[in-house]
Amino acid sequence: MDAREYNTCVHQLSDALFRFAWKCTGQQSDAHDVVQGSFEVLWQKKEEVSTAKAKAFLFQVAYRQSIDNYRKRSRFMYTDAPEESYSPVNPDLKKVLDSALAQLDERSRALVLLKDYEGYSYDEIGQITGLNESQVKVYLFRARKTLKEYLVSVENIL
């Protein structure tokens, strides 16, 4: 990968990586750090990473950095969830989903985002996160059940 291809990756992938990192960390400032760090690693490894593999590589680095940041910082607070989790006056599904996402642990959150935002298969998610396919299935199953129960409970409140 040369500089021109790297810059193309910046233009095409930085937005998606930023959204992923933001939802993973729950902090916009942390997401900026994760994106910057991920592209720095990509630039350092540009001789080894082809353009076709760049996206998976970036999400792999971003996933690890997001998890590491969370584990190193005991101060972690997921602030992306809206303060008012849900209100009949403001029935915004996106806010409800953001609140539901905040109920998950960092790993399950990352798996859900890789699946829903980027459309990766179980196998691809396993390659990015270092988990095997069965583990991915289990984590995602638990995450979906948690999210569904949250949504159902909100509906019950309604």
Binding site: N7, V10, H11, F18, R19, Q36, V112, K137, L147, L151
Partner: protein, 287 residues
């Protein structure tokens, strides 16, 4: 055959929501829901857990991530080519400089052309033509014919014709008409020869005599065309004959003009976006 039961249906619903079910598994799930329609709302709830990316959330610091793109192509040549390329560049500059110094408008080449043209031309028999400027077209036609004419040595001019004219034996090789060596010999003649009156010349000496008497007149004419600065210079103060001073000035003017052209050529190379860098082990051409 996929068996969906009350114990495992959630797993298949999650896989359905994730788009991971095969055709047979999906049909089995739909059959199970057909038999248990009360679970349809649960499947809908699972499908609603899919996160939707917000396209308005963009990374606004892309510029800080971009790397400079080098447009220049860099060719790194092997070590053994280094000296060959360097010698070639030096030779090119020398030849180019010499050609600029002695171009076709140069007085020295005019002198040569007069020699070559008259040696083989039809004007040989007419000594009066020596004081006129030779026709360029005629010269162009005559030069190739003169290539094989070699005048080995100029015999001294007869005593009654040598008054006011200094000649010396000059070997002129006309096989390479445009080489600087020939031009330099012509310069030597310009330096040493004063203006000569048309005079009768013996048949065997007439070719060289033509050259000898023709050069100073051409040199003076060139000076007038170029409008050389007539301000009093160091040369004017030298105790030399006026003709020699004029010759020196003409030569100095030509050298200055040639130097200026070489300098402009060097600047053009410098501004042509081509750089040559010679390191210890590599010769790097950037363009």
């Amino acid at each position: 055959m996929t068996m969906i039961t009350w114990e495992n249906y959630e797993k298949y619903m999650v896989m359905y929501a994730d788009g991971e079910l095969g055709t047979a598994e999906e049909q089995a799930l739909m059959a199970f829901l057909y038999e248990n329609p009360e679970l349809q709302s649960e499947l809908t709830a699972f499908t609603m857990t899919k996160m939707i990316p917000d396209a308005t959330e963009t990374y606004d610091r892309k510029e800080s991530l971009l790397q400079p793109v080098e447009d220049k192509k860099v060719i790194v040549l092997p070590v053994w080519r280094r000296y060959a390329i360097a010698a070639g560049v030096a030779l090119l500059l020398m030849v180019g400089g010499a050609r600029l110094l002695f171009n076709e408008n140069n007085v020295t080449e005019r002198a040569y052309h007069s020699v070559a043209g008259n040696v083989s031309g039809s004007n040989v028999a007419n000594p009066v033509a020596v004081t006129t400027v030779p026709d360029k077209n005629n010269l162009a036609a005559n030069i190739p014919a003169a290539k094989n004419d070699v005048i080995p040595t100029v015999p001294p001019v007869q005593a009654d014709n040598r008054k006011g004219v200094k000649t010396r034996p000059v070997k002129i090789n006309t096989a390479k008409p445009n080489t600087p060596a020939i031009a330099m010999e012509a310069v030597a003649m310009v330096e040493t020869l004063p203006v000569a009156e048309p005079m009768p010349i013996s048949t065997e000496q007439k070719n060289i005599a033509l050259a000898v008497t023709n050069v100073p007149a051409l040199a003076i004419q060139y000076r007038e065309d170029e409008t050389v600065d007539e301000a009093k210079s160091f040369v004017d103060m030298l105790p030399l004959a006026e003709t020699k001073k004029q010759g020196m000035k003409t030569l100095a003017g030509e050298v200055a003009t040639g130097y200026g052209r070489v300098s402009s050529l060097t600047q053009e190379i410098a501004h042509s976006n081509v750089s040559v860098k010679i390191s210890r082990k590599k010769l790097v051409l950037s363009f």
